[in-house]
Protein backbone atom coordinates (compact mmCIF):
# COMPACT_ATOMS: atom_id res chain seq x y z
CA UNK A 1 0.00 0.00 0.00
CA UNK A 2 2.65 2.49 1.04
CA UNK A 3 4.70 1.20 -1.88
CA UNK A 4 1.83 1.88 -4.25
CA UNK A 5 1.24 5.37 -2.83
CA UNK A 6 4.90 6.32 -3.10
CA UNK A 7 5.09 4.92 -6.62
CA UNK A 8 2.02 6.91 -7.59
CA UNK A 9 3.54 10.09 -6.14
CA UNK A 10 6.77 9.43 -8.00
CA UNK A 11 4.86 9.06 -11.27
CA UNK A 12 3.12 12.36 -10.60
CA UNK A 13 6.37 14.33 -10.44
CA UNK A 14 7.15 14.25 -14.18
CA UNK A 15 3.54 15.25 -14.88
CA UNK A 16 3.90 18.20 -12.52
CA UNK A 17 7.09 19.19 -14.31
CA UNK A 18 5.24 18.95 -17.63
CA UNK A 19 2.45 21.13 -16.24
CA UNK A 20 4.95 23.80 -15.22
CA UNK A 21 6.49 23.70 -18.71
CA UNK A 22 3.07 24.16 -20.32
CA UNK A 23 2.23 27.05 -17.96
CA UNK A 24 5.55 28.68 -18.70
CA UNK A 25 5.11 28.20 -22.45
CA UNK A 26 1.68 29.86 -22.34
CA UNK A 27 3.24 33.26 -21.81
CA UNK A 28 5.56 32.80 -24.75
CA UNK A 29 2.74 31.51 -26.91
CA UNK A 30 1.08 34.87 -26.52
CA UNK A 31 1.58 37.07 -29.54
CA UNK A 32 3.20 40.44 -29.04
CA UNK A 33 5.16 41.98 -26.26
CA UNK A 34 4.42 40.67 -22.74
CA UNK A 35 4.79 44.22 -21.43
CA UNK A 36 2.33 45.76 -23.85
CA UNK A 37 -0.26 46.35 -21.13
CA UNK A 38 1.99 48.29 -18.76
CA UNK A 39 3.99 50.36 -21.16
CA UNK A 40 2.60 53.43 -22.84
CA UNK A 41 2.48 52.95 -26.61
CA UNK A 42 5.05 55.70 -27.12
CA UNK A 43 7.60 54.32 -24.64
CA UNK A 44 11.17 54.68 -25.78
CA UNK A 45 13.30 51.73 -26.76
CA UNK A 46 15.55 52.27 -23.74
CA UNK A 47 12.70 52.07 -21.25
CA UNK A 48 11.35 49.03 -23.02
CA UNK A 49 14.67 47.25 -22.70
CA UNK A 50 15.01 48.24 -19.06
CA UNK A 51 11.59 46.81 -18.30
CA UNK A 52 12.37 43.63 -20.24
CA UNK A 53 15.53 43.19 -18.18
CA UNK A 54 13.62 43.91 -14.97
CA UNK A 55 11.12 41.13 -15.61
CA UNK A 56 13.84 38.86 -17.05
CA UNK A 57 12.19 38.63 -20.47
CA UNK A 58 15.53 39.28 -22.20
CA UNK A 59 17.13 36.01 -21.13
CA UNK A 60 17.09 32.72 -23.08
CA UNK A 61 13.96 30.60 -22.56
CA UNK A 62 15.52 27.75 -20.60
CA UNK A 63 17.16 30.20 -18.21
CA UNK A 64 13.89 32.07 -17.75
CA UNK A 65 12.12 28.77 -17.12
CA UNK A 66 14.58 27.55 -14.53
CA UNK A 67 14.53 30.88 -12.69
CA UNK A 68 10.75 30.93 -12.77
CA UNK A 69 10.53 27.31 -11.58
CA UNK A 70 13.04 27.90 -8.80
CA UNK A 71 11.04 30.88 -7.54
CA UNK A 72 7.75 28.99 -7.89
CA UNK A 73 9.11 26.18 -5.73
CA UNK A 74 9.76 28.79 -3.04
CA UNK A 75 6.20 30.04 -3.30
CA UNK A 76 6.88 33.06 -5.49
CA UNK A 77 4.87 32.71 -8.67
CA UNK A 78 5.46 36.17 -9.98
CA UNK A 79 4.12 39.68 -9.67
CA UNK A 80 0.96 40.95 -11.25
CA UNK A 81 1.90 43.42 -13.95
CA UNK A 82 -1.28 45.38 -13.41
CA UNK A 83 -1.48 45.70 -9.61
CA UNK A 84 2.18 45.16 -8.74
CA UNK A 85 1.14 42.78 -5.95
CA UNK A 86 2.46 39.19 -5.73
CA UNK A 87 0.33 36.80 -7.79
CA UNK A 88 0.05 34.46 -4.79
CA UNK A 89 -1.67 37.19 -2.76
CA UNK A 90 -4.10 37.86 -5.58
CA UNK A 91 -4.91 34.17 -5.93
CA UNK A 92 -5.27 33.06 -2.31
CA UNK A 93 -8.54 34.91 -1.65
CA UNK A 94 -9.98 33.84 -5.00
CA UNK A 95 -9.10 30.18 -4.45
CA UNK A 96 -11.06 30.17 -1.20
CA UNK A 97 -14.13 31.58 -2.89
CA UNK A 98 -13.96 29.16 -5.80
CA UNK A 99 -13.40 26.23 -3.46
CA UNK A 100 -16.48 27.19 -1.47
CA UNK A 101 -18.58 27.39 -4.60
CA UNK A 102 -17.20 24.20 -6.19
CA UNK A 103 -17.50 22.16 -2.99
CA UNK A 104 -21.13 23.15 -2.51
CA UNK A 105 -21.89 22.44 -6.16
CA UNK A 106 -20.22 19.05 -5.99
CA UNK A 107 -22.17 18.17 -2.86
CA UNK A 108 -25.50 19.10 -4.48
CA UNK A 109 -24.55 17.33 -7.71
CA UNK A 110 -23.43 14.23 -5.84
CA UNK A 111 -26.60 13.99 -3.75
CA UNK A 112 -28.96 14.45 -6.69
CA UNK A 113 -26.79 12.44 -9.07
CA UNK A 114 -26.57 9.40 -6.81
CA UNK A 115 -30.29 9.64 -6.10
CA UNK A 116 -31.21 9.65 -9.80
CA UNK A 117 -28.57 7.09 -10.63
CA UNK A 118 -29.72 4.71 -7.92
CA UNK A 119 -33.37 4.98 -8.88
CA UNK A 120 -32.55 4.50 -12.56
CA UNK A 121 -30.26 1.54 -11.92
CA UNK A 122 -32.74 -0.13 -9.59
CA UNK A 123 -35.70 0.25 -11.91
CA UNK A 124 -33.81 -0.39 -15.09
CA UNK A 125 -35.71 -0.04 -18.37
CA UNK A 126 -38.84 1.32 -16.70
CA UNK A 127 -40.18 4.84 -17.20
CA UNK A 128 -38.40 5.90 -14.02
CA UNK A 129 -35.10 4.90 -15.58
CA UNK A 130 -35.94 6.69 -18.80
CA UNK A 131 -36.88 9.87 -16.94
CA UNK A 132 -33.68 9.78 -14.89
CA UNK A 133 -31.62 9.10 -18.00
CA UNK A 134 -33.30 12.01 -19.80
CA UNK A 135 -32.38 14.20 -16.86
CA UNK A 136 -28.75 13.18 -17.09
CA UNK A 137 -28.70 13.83 -20.86
CA UNK A 138 -30.06 17.25 -19.97
CA UNK A 139 -27.26 17.67 -17.44
CA UNK A 140 -24.45 16.92 -19.88
CA UNK A 141 -26.02 18.80 -22.80
CA UNK A 142 -27.03 22.07 -21.24
CA UNK A 143 -24.65 25.02 -21.67
CA UNK A 144 -24.35 25.77 -17.96
CA UNK A 145 -23.51 29.46 -18.43
CA UNK A 146 -26.82 29.81 -20.23
CA UNK A 147 -28.61 27.86 -17.50
CA UNK A 148 -27.14 30.34 -15.04
CA UNK A 149 -28.61 33.22 -17.03
CA UNK A 150 -32.01 31.50 -17.16
CA UNK A 151 -31.96 30.95 -13.39
CA UNK A 152 -31.09 34.61 -12.87
CA UNK A 153 -33.94 35.61 -15.15
CA UNK A 154 -36.38 33.42 -13.24
CA UNK A 155 -35.32 33.70 -9.60
CA UNK A 156 -33.73 37.14 -9.55
CA UNK A 157 -35.22 39.22 -12.34
CA UNK A 158 -38.77 37.83 -12.36
CA UNK A 159 -39.47 36.41 -8.91
CA UNK A 160 -36.95 38.51 -6.99
CA UNK A 161 -36.28 35.72 -4.50
CA UNK A 162 -32.52 35.70 -4.76
CA UNK A 163 -29.84 38.26 -5.65
CA UNK A 164 -28.57 37.96 -9.24
CA UNK A 165 -24.82 38.48 -8.97
CA UNK A 166 -21.92 39.24 -6.67
CA UNK A 167 -20.86 37.85 -3.31
CA UNK A 168 -22.92 39.95 -0.91
CA UNK A 169 -22.45 43.24 0.88
CA UNK A 170 -19.08 42.24 2.32
CA UNK A 171 -17.84 41.27 -1.13
CA UNK A 172 -15.00 38.83 -1.32
CA UNK A 173 -13.15 40.60 1.50
CA UNK A 174 -15.66 40.00 4.26
CA UNK A 175 -17.63 36.80 3.68
CA UNK A 176 -19.80 35.47 6.51
CA UNK A 177 -21.86 32.33 6.84
CA UNK A 178 -25.17 34.11 7.25
CA UNK A 179 -28.23 34.33 5.03
CA UNK A 180 -27.29 37.77 3.75
CA UNK A 181 -24.20 36.22 2.18
CA UNK A 182 -25.25 32.61 1.59
CA UNK A 183 -28.16 33.63 -0.62
CA UNK A 184 -25.60 34.90 -3.14
CA UNK A 185 -24.08 31.43 -3.26
CA UNK A 186 -27.28 29.54 -4.07
CA UNK A 187 -27.81 30.29 -7.76
CA UNK A 188 -24.19 29.81 -8.88
CA UNK A 189 -23.86 26.61 -6.85
CA UNK A 190 -27.09 25.13 -8.22
CA UNK A 191 -26.05 26.04 -11.77
CA UNK A 192 -22.65 24.51 -11.30
CA UNK A 193 -24.04 21.34 -9.72
CA UNK A 194 -25.72 20.39 -13.00
CA UNK A 195 -22.33 19.50 -14.53
CA UNK A 196 -21.32 16.76 -12.06
CA UNK A 197 -24.93 15.67 -11.52
CA UNK A 198 -25.37 14.26 -15.02
CA UNK A 199 -22.02 12.46 -14.96
CA UNK A 200 -22.47 11.06 -11.45
CA UNK A 201 -26.01 9.89 -12.29
CA UNK A 202 -24.73 8.04 -15.37
CA UNK A 203 -21.88 6.44 -13.45
CA UNK A 204 -24.05 5.37 -10.52
CA UNK A 205 -26.75 3.98 -12.82
CA UNK A 206 -24.21 1.84 -14.66
CA UNK A 207 -22.60 0.72 -11.37
CA UNK A 208 -25.90 -0.22 -9.72
CA UNK A 209 -27.16 -2.05 -12.81
CA UNK A 210 -23.91 -3.97 -13.05
CA UNK A 211 -23.77 -4.89 -9.36
CA UNK A 212 -27.41 -6.02 -9.36
CA UNK A 213 -26.78 -8.32 -12.31
CA UNK A 214 -23.75 -9.94 -10.68
CA UNK A 215 -23.98 -13.46 -9.43
CA UNK A 216 -23.30 -12.68 -5.81
CA UNK A 217 -26.37 -10.43 -5.62
CA UNK A 218 -28.49 -13.10 -7.28
CA UNK A 219 -27.06 -15.47 -4.68
CA UNK A 220 -27.89 -13.11 -1.80
CA UNK A 221 -31.47 -12.81 -3.03
CA UNK A 222 -31.72 -16.56 -3.42
CA UNK A 223 -30.54 -16.94 0.17
CA UNK A 224 -33.44 -14.78 1.23
CA UNK A 225 -31.68 -11.55 2.07
CA UNK A 226 -34.08 -8.64 2.39
CA UNK A 227 -34.13 -5.89 -0.22
CA UNK A 228 -32.65 -3.57 2.39
CA UNK A 229 -29.77 -5.97 2.82
CA UNK A 230 -29.24 -6.14 -0.93
CA UNK A 231 -29.33 -2.35 -1.03
CA UNK A 232 -26.60 -2.27 1.59
CA UNK A 233 -24.41 -4.49 -0.55
CA UNK A 234 -24.99 -2.33 -3.60
CA UNK A 235 -24.05 0.82 -1.69
CA UNK A 236 -20.91 -0.80 -0.32
CA UNK A 237 -19.79 -1.90 -3.77
CA UNK A 238 -20.71 1.26 -5.64
CA UNK A 239 -19.36 3.77 -3.12
CA UNK A 240 -15.61 3.73 -3.96
CA UNK A 241 -16.13 4.40 -7.67
CA UNK A 242 -18.87 6.97 -7.10
CA UNK A 243 -16.70 8.83 -4.57
CA UNK A 244 -13.76 8.76 -6.96
CA UNK A 245 -15.88 10.27 -9.72
CA UNK A 246 -17.02 12.92 -7.27
CA UNK A 247 -13.44 13.81 -6.40
CA UNK A 248 -12.45 14.17 -10.03
CA UNK A 249 -15.54 16.27 -10.72
CA UNK A 250 -14.60 18.63 -7.90
CA UNK A 251 -11.29 19.11 -9.67
CA UNK A 252 -13.00 19.88 -12.97
CA UNK A 253 -15.27 22.43 -11.30
CA UNK A 254 -12.36 24.16 -9.59
CA UNK A 255 -10.60 24.58 -12.90
CA UNK A 256 -13.72 25.16 -14.98
CA UNK A 257 -15.48 27.76 -12.87
CA UNK A 258 -14.60 30.67 -15.15
CA UNK A 259 -17.85 30.73 -17.14
CA UNK A 260 -20.14 30.51 -14.14
CA UNK A 261 -18.12 33.01 -12.15
CA UNK A 262 -18.34 35.40 -15.06
CA UNK A 263 -22.14 35.03 -15.28
CA UNK A 264 -22.59 35.57 -11.55
CA UNK A 265 -19.65 37.94 -10.99
CA UNK A 266 -18.48 35.58 -8.27
CA UNK A 267 -15.07 36.75 -7.02
CA UNK A 268 -13.16 33.48 -7.53
CA UNK A 269 -10.28 32.24 -9.62
CA UNK A 270 -12.42 32.28 -12.76
CA UNK A 271 -13.13 35.96 -12.51
CA UNK A 272 -9.46 36.51 -11.75
CA UNK A 273 -8.52 34.62 -14.92
CA UNK A 274 -10.99 36.65 -16.90
CA UNK A 275 -9.39 39.89 -15.65
CA UNK A 276 -5.90 38.55 -16.31
CA UNK A 277 -6.76 37.63 -19.89
CA UNK A 278 -8.42 40.87 -20.85
CA UNK A 279 -5.88 43.09 -19.16
CA UNK A 280 -3.09 40.95 -20.65
CA UNK A 281 -1.66 40.41 -17.17
CA UNK A 282 0.40 37.40 -18.20
CA UNK A 283 2.11 36.61 -14.86
CA UNK A 284 -1.30 36.56 -13.18
CA UNK A 285 -2.70 34.34 -15.94
CA UNK A 286 0.27 32.00 -15.69
CA UNK A 287 0.19 31.82 -11.89
CA UNK A 288 -3.54 31.21 -11.67
CA UNK A 289 -3.43 28.43 -14.23
CA UNK A 290 -0.43 26.86 -12.53
CA UNK A 291 -2.15 26.82 -9.15
CA UNK A 292 -5.41 25.41 -10.55
CA UNK A 293 -3.66 22.71 -12.59
CA UNK A 294 -1.50 21.66 -9.61
CA UNK A 295 -4.63 21.48 -7.51
CA UNK A 296 -6.15 19.17 -10.10
CA UNK A 297 -3.08 16.92 -10.29
CA UNK A 298 -2.86 16.59 -6.52
CA UNK A 299 -6.59 15.93 -6.24
CA UNK A 300 -6.33 13.16 -8.83
CA UNK A 301 -3.48 11.65 -6.87
CA UNK A 302 -5.40 11.77 -3.60
CA UNK A 303 -8.53 10.27 -5.20
CA UNK A 304 -6.50 7.47 -6.74
CA UNK A 305 -4.76 6.54 -3.51
CA UNK A 306 -7.98 6.85 -1.48
CA UNK A 307 -9.77 4.57 -3.91
CA UNK A 308 -7.12 1.92 -3.48
CA UNK A 309 -7.56 2.09 0.27
CA UNK A 310 -11.35 1.96 0.07
CA UNK A 311 -11.70 -0.76 -2.52
CA UNK A 312 -9.90 -3.98 -1.62
CA UNK A 313 -10.64 -5.40 -5.09
CA UNK A 314 -8.17 -3.04 -6.69
CA UNK A 315 -4.83 -4.74 -6.35
CA UNK A 316 -2.04 -2.51 -7.40
CA UNK A 317 1.49 -3.76 -7.18
Amino acid sequence: MIFYASKRILFTLPIMLGVTIVCFALVHLAPGDPLVSVLPPDASQVIKEQMMALYGFDRPYHEQFLRWLWRALQGDIGTSIRTGRPVSTEISKAVGNTLMLAALATAIGFLLGTLFGFVAGYFRDTWVDKAASALSVFGVSVPHYWLGMVLVIIFAATLGWLPPTGAGPGGSEDWKWNWVHVQYLILPAVTMSVIPMGIIARTVRALVAEILSQEFVVGLRAKGLSELGVFGHVVKNAAPTALAVMGIQLGYLLGGSILIETVFAWPGTGLLLNDAIFQRDLPLLQGTILVLAMFFVVLNLVVDVMQTILDPRIQRA
Binding site: I21, G255, L259
Partner: protein, 289 residues
Protein backbone atom coordinates in the same frame (compact mmCIF):
# COMPACT_ATOMS: atom_id res chain seq x y z
CA UNK B 1 -11.45 -23.42 -64.15
CA UNK B 2 -15.19 -23.95 -64.47
CA UNK B 3 -17.42 -20.99 -63.83
CA UNK B 4 -18.89 -21.12 -60.36
CA UNK B 5 -22.48 -22.22 -60.50
CA UNK B 6 -23.63 -20.08 -57.61
CA UNK B 7 -22.79 -16.58 -56.60
CA UNK B 8 -21.18 -16.45 -53.14
CA UNK B 9 -23.58 -15.50 -50.38
CA UNK B 10 -22.42 -12.35 -48.65
CA UNK B 11 -23.44 -11.43 -45.11
CA UNK B 12 -24.14 -7.78 -44.42
CA UNK B 13 -21.00 -6.10 -43.11
CA UNK B 14 -20.61 -4.65 -39.63
CA UNK B 15 -21.46 -1.08 -40.57
CA UNK B 16 -24.52 -2.17 -42.56
CA UNK B 17 -25.77 -3.96 -39.45
CA UNK B 18 -25.04 -0.93 -37.28
CA UNK B 19 -26.88 1.30 -39.73
CA UNK B 20 -29.96 -0.96 -39.68
CA UNK B 21 -29.98 -1.04 -35.89
CA UNK B 22 -29.63 2.75 -35.80
CA UNK B 23 -32.62 3.15 -38.12
CA UNK B 24 -34.73 1.14 -35.68
CA UNK B 25 -34.02 3.56 -32.80
CA UNK B 26 -36.65 6.33 -33.01
CA UNK B 27 -34.97 8.72 -30.56
CA UNK B 28 -31.59 8.50 -32.27
CA UNK B 29 -33.19 8.85 -35.67
CA UNK B 30 -35.08 11.97 -34.63
CA UNK B 31 -31.87 13.41 -33.18
CA UNK B 32 -30.02 12.63 -36.42
CA UNK B 33 -32.74 14.41 -38.42
CA UNK B 34 -32.42 17.47 -36.16
CA UNK B 35 -28.64 17.45 -36.69
CA UNK B 36 -29.14 17.13 -40.43
CA UNK B 37 -31.62 20.00 -40.37
CA UNK B 38 -29.18 22.19 -38.43
CA UNK B 39 -26.40 21.40 -40.87
CA UNK B 40 -28.63 22.25 -43.85
CA UNK B 41 -29.66 25.43 -42.07
CA UNK B 42 -26.03 26.39 -41.59
CA UNK B 43 -25.04 25.59 -45.17
CA UNK B 44 -27.96 27.44 -46.77
CA UNK B 45 -28.14 30.24 -44.18
CA UNK B 46 -27.88 33.13 -46.68
CA UNK B 47 -30.86 31.78 -48.65
CA UNK B 48 -33.00 30.84 -45.65
CA UNK B 49 -32.47 33.88 -43.44
CA UNK B 50 -35.19 36.47 -44.06
CA UNK B 51 -32.90 39.45 -43.39
CA UNK B 52 -29.30 40.53 -43.40
CA UNK B 53 -27.80 39.43 -40.04
CA UNK B 54 -25.41 42.39 -40.00
CA UNK B 55 -27.85 45.15 -40.91
CA UNK B 56 -29.42 46.76 -37.83
CA UNK B 57 -32.22 49.32 -37.57
CA UNK B 58 -31.45 51.65 -34.68
CA UNK B 59 -35.16 52.33 -34.18
CA UNK B 60 -35.97 48.64 -33.87
CA UNK B 61 -33.70 47.71 -30.95
CA UNK B 62 -34.59 44.87 -28.56
CA UNK B 63 -38.06 44.18 -29.95
CA UNK B 64 -39.68 41.13 -28.32
CA UNK B 65 -40.35 37.95 -30.29
CA UNK B 66 -43.52 38.21 -32.35
CA UNK B 67 -42.94 41.77 -33.49
CA UNK B 68 -44.19 42.57 -36.99
CA UNK B 69 -41.44 41.63 -39.46
CA UNK B 70 -39.22 40.18 -36.73
CA UNK B 71 -40.68 36.75 -35.71
CA UNK B 72 -38.01 36.31 -33.02
CA UNK B 73 -37.47 39.96 -32.25
CA UNK B 74 -34.35 42.07 -32.64
CA UNK B 75 -31.07 42.33 -30.76
CA UNK B 76 -29.45 45.28 -29.00
CA UNK B 77 -28.44 46.81 -32.34
CA UNK B 78 -31.79 46.27 -33.99
CA UNK B 79 -30.74 43.25 -36.08
CA UNK B 80 -33.17 40.47 -36.88
CA UNK B 81 -32.74 37.68 -34.27
CA UNK B 82 -34.07 34.92 -36.51
CA UNK B 83 -31.53 35.71 -39.23
CA UNK B 84 -28.72 35.96 -36.71
CA UNK B 85 -29.66 32.67 -35.09
CA UNK B 86 -29.77 30.97 -38.51
CA UNK B 87 -26.37 32.38 -39.46
CA UNK B 88 -25.03 31.58 -35.98
CA UNK B 89 -25.43 27.87 -36.70
CA UNK B 90 -22.48 28.17 -39.09
CA UNK B 91 -19.87 29.07 -36.49
CA UNK B 92 -21.38 26.88 -33.77
CA UNK B 93 -21.46 23.76 -35.92
CA UNK B 94 -18.03 24.56 -37.33
CA UNK B 95 -16.59 24.94 -33.84
CA UNK B 96 -18.38 21.82 -32.69
CA UNK B 97 -17.26 19.57 -35.50
CA UNK B 98 -13.94 20.82 -36.93
CA UNK B 99 -11.81 20.87 -33.73
CA UNK B 100 -13.04 17.36 -32.91
CA UNK B 101 -12.15 16.13 -36.42
CA UNK B 102 -8.67 17.66 -36.18
CA UNK B 103 -8.20 16.19 -32.72
CA UNK B 104 -9.54 12.85 -33.97
CA UNK B 105 -6.95 12.70 -36.74
CA UNK B 106 -4.04 13.62 -34.45
CA UNK B 107 -5.23 11.89 -31.28
CA UNK B 108 -6.12 8.63 -33.02
CA UNK B 109 -2.72 8.57 -34.73
CA UNK B 110 -0.92 9.12 -31.42
CA UNK B 111 -3.05 6.58 -29.58
CA UNK B 112 -2.87 3.85 -32.22
CA UNK B 113 0.89 4.19 -32.62
CA UNK B 114 1.39 4.21 -28.84
CA UNK B 115 -0.98 1.29 -28.31
CA UNK B 116 0.44 -0.84 -31.08
CA UNK B 117 4.10 -0.14 -30.34
CA UNK B 118 3.93 -0.52 -26.56
CA UNK B 119 7.18 -0.17 -24.64
CA UNK B 120 9.09 3.09 -24.63
CA UNK B 121 7.21 4.65 -27.52
CA UNK B 122 4.02 4.17 -25.58
CA UNK B 123 5.46 5.54 -22.35
CA UNK B 124 6.87 8.63 -24.06
CA UNK B 125 3.72 9.46 -26.03
CA UNK B 126 1.22 8.73 -23.28
CA UNK B 127 3.14 10.55 -20.54
CA UNK B 128 3.19 13.64 -22.76
CA UNK B 129 -0.54 13.26 -23.28
CA UNK B 130 -0.97 12.90 -19.50
CA UNK B 131 0.56 16.35 -18.99
CA UNK B 132 -2.22 17.95 -21.04
CA UNK B 133 -4.72 15.69 -19.34
CA UNK B 134 -3.64 17.21 -16.04
CA UNK B 135 -5.54 20.39 -16.93
CA UNK B 136 -9.33 20.49 -16.59
CA UNK B 137 -10.61 20.93 -20.16
CA UNK B 138 -12.31 24.30 -19.60
CA UNK B 139 -9.18 25.66 -17.95
CA UNK B 140 -6.94 24.45 -20.77
CA UNK B 141 -9.24 25.90 -23.42
CA UNK B 142 -9.45 29.25 -21.65
CA UNK B 143 -5.72 29.31 -20.97
CA UNK B 144 -4.78 28.58 -24.57
CA UNK B 145 -7.40 30.87 -26.07
CA UNK B 146 -6.47 33.54 -23.53
CA UNK B 147 -2.78 33.31 -24.37
CA UNK B 148 -3.32 33.14 -28.13
CA UNK B 149 -5.88 35.92 -28.10
CA UNK B 150 -9.44 36.00 -29.45
CA UNK B 151 -10.42 34.82 -32.91
CA UNK B 152 -11.96 31.91 -34.73
CA UNK B 153 -8.67 30.31 -35.74
CA UNK B 154 -7.11 30.58 -32.27
CA UNK B 155 -10.25 29.07 -30.77
CA UNK B 156 -9.94 26.21 -33.24
CA UNK B 157 -6.33 25.57 -32.21
CA UNK B 158 -7.17 25.77 -28.51
CA UNK B 159 -10.08 23.34 -28.76
CA UNK B 160 -8.13 20.90 -30.93
CA UNK B 161 -5.38 20.81 -28.31
CA UNK B 162 -7.99 20.27 -25.60
CA UNK B 163 -9.47 17.21 -27.32
CA UNK B 164 -6.28 15.49 -28.49
CA UNK B 165 -5.41 14.00 -25.05
CA UNK B 166 -8.76 12.32 -24.31
CA UNK B 167 -9.02 10.91 -27.85
CA UNK B 168 -5.42 9.68 -27.72
CA UNK B 169 -6.13 7.94 -24.41
CA UNK B 170 -9.20 6.15 -25.71
CA UNK B 171 -7.36 5.19 -28.92
CA UNK B 172 -4.43 3.88 -26.92
CA UNK B 173 -6.55 1.74 -24.66
CA UNK B 174 -8.64 0.13 -27.44
CA UNK B 175 -5.53 -0.46 -29.55
CA UNK B 176 -3.73 -2.08 -26.64
CA UNK B 177 -6.75 -4.35 -26.26
CA UNK B 178 -6.69 -5.35 -29.94
CA UNK B 179 -2.92 -5.70 -30.22
CA UNK B 180 -2.76 -8.82 -28.07
CA UNK B 181 -5.67 -10.51 -29.85
CA UNK B 182 -4.91 -13.82 -31.53
CA UNK B 183 -5.93 -12.55 -34.96
CA UNK B 184 -3.21 -9.92 -34.78
CA UNK B 185 -0.78 -12.66 -33.73
CA UNK B 186 -2.02 -14.79 -36.62
CA UNK B 187 -1.44 -11.89 -39.02
CA UNK B 188 2.09 -11.49 -37.64
CA UNK B 189 2.60 -15.22 -38.02
CA UNK B 190 1.68 -14.95 -41.69
CA UNK B 191 4.63 -12.61 -42.14
CA UNK B 192 2.81 -9.27 -42.44
CA UNK B 193 4.58 -6.07 -41.41
CA UNK B 194 3.36 -3.66 -38.73
CA UNK B 195 1.85 -1.09 -41.12
CA UNK B 196 -0.15 -3.68 -43.02
CA UNK B 197 -1.41 -5.26 -39.79
CA UNK B 198 -2.45 -1.86 -38.44
CA UNK B 199 -4.27 -1.02 -41.67
CA UNK B 200 -6.00 -4.33 -42.21
CA UNK B 201 -6.53 -5.73 -38.73
CA UNK B 202 -6.17 -2.96 -36.13
CA UNK B 203 -7.88 0.09 -37.63
CA UNK B 204 -11.07 -1.75 -38.58
CA UNK B 205 -11.50 -2.78 -34.97
CA UNK B 206 -10.48 0.41 -33.20
CA UNK B 207 -11.75 3.25 -35.40
CA UNK B 208 -15.40 2.53 -34.54
CA UNK B 209 -15.06 3.01 -30.77
CA UNK B 210 -12.69 5.96 -31.23
CA UNK B 211 -15.08 7.60 -33.66
CA UNK B 212 -18.07 7.23 -31.32
CA UNK B 213 -16.04 8.70 -28.49
CA UNK B 214 -15.03 11.64 -30.69
CA UNK B 215 -18.66 12.17 -31.66
CA UNK B 216 -19.61 12.47 -28.02
CA UNK B 217 -17.13 15.36 -27.83
CA UNK B 218 -18.86 17.42 -30.54
CA UNK B 219 -21.46 18.75 -28.10
CA UNK B 220 -18.73 19.47 -25.56
CA UNK B 221 -16.69 21.31 -28.17
CA UNK B 222 -19.66 23.37 -29.29
CA UNK B 223 -20.60 24.35 -25.73
CA UNK B 224 -16.98 25.16 -24.94
CA UNK B 225 -16.55 27.21 -28.12
CA UNK B 226 -19.73 29.15 -27.40
CA UNK B 227 -18.41 29.58 -23.87
CA UNK B 228 -15.18 31.08 -25.20
CA UNK B 229 -17.23 33.45 -27.37
CA UNK B 230 -19.34 34.26 -24.35
CA UNK B 231 -16.16 35.27 -22.51
CA UNK B 232 -15.06 37.30 -25.51
CA UNK B 233 -12.36 34.81 -26.52
CA UNK B 234 -14.06 33.50 -29.63
CA UNK B 235 -15.17 35.22 -32.78
CA UNK B 236 -15.27 38.99 -32.81
CA UNK B 237 -18.40 41.12 -33.26
CA UNK B 238 -20.36 41.66 -35.40
CA UNK B 239 -20.14 37.99 -36.41
CA UNK B 240 -23.38 36.18 -35.59
CA UNK B 241 -22.40 33.51 -33.05
CA UNK B 242 -24.67 31.98 -30.42
CA UNK B 243 -22.13 32.32 -27.61
CA UNK B 244 -21.29 35.90 -28.47
CA UNK B 245 -25.00 36.76 -28.79
CA UNK B 246 -25.58 35.41 -25.27
CA UNK B 247 -22.88 37.74 -24.06
CA UNK B 248 -24.04 40.90 -25.82
CA UNK B 249 -27.70 40.32 -24.96
CA UNK B 250 -26.93 39.97 -21.25
CA UNK B 251 -27.63 43.67 -20.82
CA UNK B 252 -31.25 42.98 -21.80
CA UNK B 253 -31.74 40.29 -19.16
CA UNK B 254 -34.24 42.39 -17.23
CA UNK B 255 -36.04 44.05 -20.11
CA UNK B 256 -36.29 41.22 -22.66
CA UNK B 257 -35.56 37.95 -20.76
CA UNK B 258 -37.05 35.69 -23.43
CA UNK B 259 -35.00 37.30 -26.17
CA UNK B 260 -31.72 36.93 -24.39
CA UNK B 261 -32.33 33.25 -23.63
CA UNK B 262 -32.86 32.39 -27.32
CA UNK B 263 -29.23 31.80 -28.43
CA UNK B 264 -28.78 29.45 -25.47
CA UNK B 265 -31.84 27.51 -26.55
CA UNK B 266 -30.18 26.95 -29.93
CA UNK B 267 -26.95 25.73 -28.29
CA UNK B 268 -28.98 23.46 -26.02
CA UNK B 269 -31.04 21.94 -28.84
CA UNK B 270 -27.96 21.32 -30.96
CA UNK B 271 -25.99 19.71 -28.16
CA UNK B 272 -28.90 17.50 -27.08
CA UNK B 273 -29.37 16.36 -30.68
CA UNK B 274 -25.69 15.48 -31.02
CA UNK B 275 -25.64 13.68 -27.66
CA UNK B 276 -28.76 11.61 -28.38
CA UNK B 277 -27.47 10.74 -31.85
CA UNK B 278 -24.17 9.60 -30.35
CA UNK B 279 -25.93 7.55 -27.67
CA UNK B 280 -28.00 5.87 -30.39
CA UNK B 281 -24.94 5.13 -32.49
CA UNK B 282 -23.11 3.75 -29.47
CA UNK B 283 -25.86 1.31 -28.63
CA UNK B 284 -26.27 0.38 -32.32
CA UNK B 285 -22.57 -0.50 -32.39
CA UNK B 286 -22.77 -2.55 -29.22
CA UNK B 287 -23.60 -5.80 -31.00
CA UNK B 288 -23.56 -8.76 -28.67
CA UNK B 289 -22.49 -11.88 -30.47
Amino acid sequence: MPERAQEILRSPGYWVTVWRRFLRDPVALLAALVVLGLILMAVFAPWIAPQDPFQGMSLQRLKPPGTEGYPLGTDELGRDMLSRLIHGARISLFMGIVPVLCALAIGAAIGVVAGYSGGWTNTLLMRTVDVFFAFPSVLLAVALAGALGPGLFNGLIALTLVFIPPIARVAESVTTGVRTRDYVEAAKASGAGALLIIRKHVLGNVLGPIFVYAMSLIAVSMILAAGLSFLGLGVKPPQPDWGLMLNTLRTAMYTQPLLCALPGVMIFITSIAFNLMTDGLRSAMDIKT
